[in-house]
């Protein structure tokens, strides 16, 4: 930067005033702090893994052993026998799959309407959509429960799936609409001149270009439904309908001292989300960037 300047006129800076020195010292503090924080946050997960591989006797050893010997992989087999994990997993997969499908399908078509078509009251309705995001779920909870009870949908997956098909959540519509707005309108006009119908514009022009945004919606939807606890707790009441989250809670209430198995079951429940995060990290971060910056 200062190569062209005559160096001789400047007094030699003291060691501390030198940028590079400040930087190096800064780094020497920065990395230990960051690593320390990461270790503290990851310690509970390491504890989860460690406990899940212990025989029951080793669980109650003081001081705690970090690396169990012997390592008991058997825990991961026994959990499937101790509780109907396979059934819970199947239920969770079914609910998550159909709910995410509904979310992506309906949010993307609704967002298309708001982003690309003109109709009366559009902007007012969009404001209404945004304001529904502020309504706490508890306010609508009881009438919704009564509605599903009247429909005789209690203890079925329907209350957990069907609402996703009605708009797919205000936030998702908002997210997709913002994304669609970034695609040039000329695309639509050109397609119309070529004789495309509105639906064809959606199918052939908007959807193929929106894969990243749809991916974000699908990933957040997956995480949300996979981890959901409150709604299944209210709507599902027989064990054979339980999701993994409910099954885990049920397992805890009956086998409260089998910590090694509980930890194994917890880890297995968490695993799909962790895997999805690693597979789709880029989309995931993009989605968060989007939510954060938008405010």
């Amino acid at each position: 930067m200062s190569v062209s300047r005559p160096a001789a006129y400047r007094p030699a800076p003291s060691l501390w005033a030198r940028k590079s020195v400040q930087r190096t010292v800064g780094r020497l503090v920065l990395y230990p702090v960051l690593v320390g924080g990461a270790v503290i946050l990851l310690l509970p997960l390491a504890w989860l893994l460690s406990s899940s591989l212990k025989p029951l006797g080793l669980i109650f050893v003081v001081p705690p052993q970090w690396i169990p010997s012997p390592i008991r992989w058997q825990n991961y087999v026994e959990v499937w026998q101790a509780i109907p994990m396979a059934l819970f997993a199947r239920n969770t997969i079914t609910i998550t799959f159909f709910a995410v499908l509904g979310t992506v399908a309906s949010a993307s078509i609704v967002a298309f309407g708001f982003a690309r078509l003109r109709f009366r009251m559009r902007d007012v309705l969009f404001l209404v959509l945004l304001s529904t995001m502020m309504i706490p779920g508890q306010v609508t909870l009881i009438p919704q429960y009564i509605l599903f009870r009247t429909l005789r949908w209690l203890n079925s997956f329907l209350p957990l799936i069907v609402p996703s098909y009605f708009g797919g959540g205000a936030f998702n519509v908002f997210l997709l609409r913002q994304f669609y707005m970034t695609l040039p309108l000329e695309l639509d006009d050109a397609a119309r001149i070529d004789g495309c119908s509105t639906f064809q514009i959606y199918r052939r022009i908007i959807l193929p270009q929106s894969k990243p945004a749809l991916g974000v919606v699908a990933i957040f939807g997956f995480m949300g439904h996979w981890n959901e606890f409150f709604a299944p707790l209210i709507y599902l009441n027989s064990t054979e309908k339980y999701t993994l989250a409910l099954g885990l809670n049920f397992f805890r209430s009956v086998e409260y001292s089998a910590w090694h198995l509980l930890m194994a079951a917890s880890l297995m429940t968490a695993l799909p989300c962790i895997v999805v995060y690693f597979l789709a990290q880029r989309y995931f971060i993009q989605g968060i960037v989007f939510t954060g910056i938008k405010g």
Binding site: W47, F114, M223
Partner: protein, 311 residues
């Protein structure tokens, strides 16, 4: 024609505009239906139910303000409100500042940024039930990780955490800090969105580190802080799983969160009318804080044209 009057862009035929209008409504119809069935209808119904006595098996009986009067005298209502407020006003500021500090550190052109980011975010990937069970085990007084660590440090009588009225709520606040990676990720994204030219310009003007932070980073980040603050407050008032799974609200109602009390009223005691009144009070509290944060934001949130432009 009326149709032509509102239409901003001139198209050949008004019939195509009418078609577009119809198609527009068709596209948003799933949401419109959902709005009526799952939002507006239930809001009106729950408002009505909050003025009734309703035990599901019999039709609701209108009782006027009786539920709200009862609430004012209900010790458990006040207890749950107190617990939830303490939880919110201790954990939210802690989480907001801590996550901001971590994001600032991570924004220093750190090597292995992806790795750090993942490590800090990881706890957020664990389902609420799984993390609740894990933390019960960590807080376990005799064999848990936390007390094992404290004993190792030479503390002979570490607290019984979830088992004591004094420590149960602080335990859950401590646990909530485990999720610090969530807001951190949003902050980090915001920090990375600040144009480097702004820092360069400030540097040319002779601004030092502190002054660059005060005059560039803080104003640029204030909308993001604002967003995280609202979201955290709203989320915190609705906390449920931790209390339900880990403590059941105990010991002696020390962790009896508001939504847990609401849930018990609705689905354990089947006092749906009373629970609806509880829901409305909660909605008003959340609305109050949202408006408060929005109002105060005029003083401290700085929206530059660029940030808005990206919206």
């Amino acid at each position: 024609m009326q149709v032509a009057a509102w239409q901003p862009r001139v198209r050949g035929m008004s019939s195509s505009a009418r078609r577009e209008e119809l198609e527009g409504y068709l596209c948003i119809s799933p949401w419109l239906l959902g709005l009526l069935i799952f939002t507006i209808g239930p809001i009106l119904a729950s408002l009505y139910l909050s003025f009734t006595e309703y035990e599901v098996v019999k039709p609701p009986v209108f009782t006027g303000l009786a539920n709200y009067v009862m609430l004012a005298r209900d010790d458990l209502f006040w207890q749950s409100l107190k617990v939830t407020s303490i939880y919110t006003f201790v954990s939210v500021p802690l989480r907001i500042t801590l996550s901001f500090a971590i994001a600032l550190l991570m924004n220093q052109q750190v090597k292995f940024l992806g790795l750090f980011r993942t490590a800090y975010y990881m706890p957020n990937l664990v389902p609420a039930v799984a993390s609740a069970i894990l933390w019960v085990w960590i807080f376990q007084p005799q064999f848990g990780l936390l007390n094992g660590f404290l004993r190792g440090m030479g503390i002979e009588n570490p607290p019984p955490w979830l088992g004591s009225t004094k420590w149960a709520l602080p335990s859950l606040i401590l646990m909530s800090l485990w999720g610090v990676g969530g807001p951190m990720l949003i902050y980090l994204a915001g920090l990375q969105g600040i144009p480097t030219e702004m820092y360069e310009a400030a540097e040319i003007d002779g601004a030092g580190r502190v002054s660059r932070f005060r005059h560039v980073t803080l104003p640029q980040m204030s909308p993001v802080v604002f967003f995280n603050l609202i979201m955290s407050i709203i989320g915190s008032f609705q906390v449920f799983a931790a209390g339900y799974i880990m403590t059941g609200g105990g010991p002696r109602y020390a962790t009896y969160f508001y939504v847990l009390y609401l849930y018990n009223n609705a689905f354990s005691f089947f006092r749906m009318g009373y629970a609806s009144a509880l829901a409305w009070i909660l909605a008003i509290i959340i609305l109050f804080f949202t408006v408060l944060v929005f109002r105060s934001s005029a003083a401290w949130v700085y929206y530059s044209g660029e940030l808005k432009g990206r919206a």
